[in-house]
Symmetry: C2
Subunit: 189 residues, 2 copies
DNA sequence: ACCTGAACACCGTTCAAGT
DNA sequence: ACCTGAACACCGTTCAAGT
């Protein structure tokens, strides 16, 4: 028996997937959770706080997925590629969650920021390993990570908006662009 | 004396800048345009169509800005860099318009797609010139353009979400990442 | 501590009617 | 062709009250 709070977050996540933030009405969330339409206010300050909880949960889950990817691969270079493809795959599978996580938060969202920082730190560590292995060029690992992440992020966002030129054109989708960048970066090998 | 339609789009743009799509209420749009709260329905099918008109106008303006950049610079390599920095500057100055343009459109938006295709085609042409001048590596120009645009786009989006690691850290912002990528790409020179 | 039901101000959209 | 005013169903949020 899950707590009411967890049930509310679950219902809100399902509604996000179905129609984005506008589809998340506190009334429908309450309905699905089997409580009144304003029971959510006993667990969250307002609608945005509920959405922030959904985003935080998602980002925490992504950090765990990244750790799993690190555990499943040996060579850092291969792992970096797998991690970026994992990011792309997640965003394409759950576009509304992706948009939510990086959406416009009107207030500060400390928990969300913490989750984001944690996930990024893990990726920075992985990139640093790949640099030491000669799979990626030298330089500030944080900055190189930002480059890789920005490319993957932007490729997905443009693809979701239908603004990526050749959608059907073989490997020109987000995964293809990630691979292109890795090829261009080369590394010492 | 501007047409009612143009006045409505103008008012909607101002409201977008002030608070995003949620701040664009047809009632407030009508109020600012000096018409009733449902006069917009005589010019647009619904709220989303009004927002699409705002986005289309913005994207058309961006395409013009890109052409101006092409006219202002001689060397293609320099022009590509200026164009990408122009994109970043626009997005950082008008974050709500940026989010709107690439936001989730529930219906097809033909005019918006046309404007986007036109703007991208201009950039592809510029990239091809830079390739011929040896300022960018060879390969499918559309694909290389997608790489450049995806990086600039993703860097801005992450920066707006506060998810770019070192904000104050000198040149690690969106413009810095664009420059990093151009350096990594090198070209024949 | 957690929840309910009524209420308030607001919104997108529709409709009948005006010029 | 363009606009208005009333109306409908809906929503976020607040509040008094219950256990």
């Amino acid at each position: 028996m899950a707590s009411t709070r967890a049930t509310l977050v679950e219902a809100a996540t399902a509604l996000i997937d179905e129609g984005g933030p506008d589809a998340v009405t506190l009334r429908e969330v309450g309905r699905r959770a089997g409580v009144s339409h304003n029971a959510p206010y006993k667990h969250f300050n307002d609608k945005e706080a509920l959405l922030a909880a959904v985003a935080t949960r998602e980002l925490t889950s992504r950090a765990a997925a990244l750790e799993a990817t690190r555990a499943a691969h040996a060579e850092p270079g291969v792992t970096v590629r797998a991690a970026l493809h994992g990011y792309v795959g997640w965003a394409l599978e759950w576009p509304r969650r992706f948009k939510l996580v990086y959406g416009p938060w009107s207030k500060g969202t400390p928990e969300l920021d913490v989750a984001a920082t944690k996930a990024r730190a893990s990726l920075v560590g992985l990139v640093a390993e790949a640099q030491q292995a000669g799979d990626l060029p030298d330089g500030d690992p944080e900055r190189l990570t930002a480059l890789l992440l920005a490319l993957a992020h932007g490729a997905v966002d443009l693809a979701l908006a239908g603004h990526l030129a050749a959608d059907g054109k073989g490997r020109a989708g987000p995964d293809g662009l990630v691979d292109d960048l890795l090829v261009h970066l080369g590394g010492r090998r």
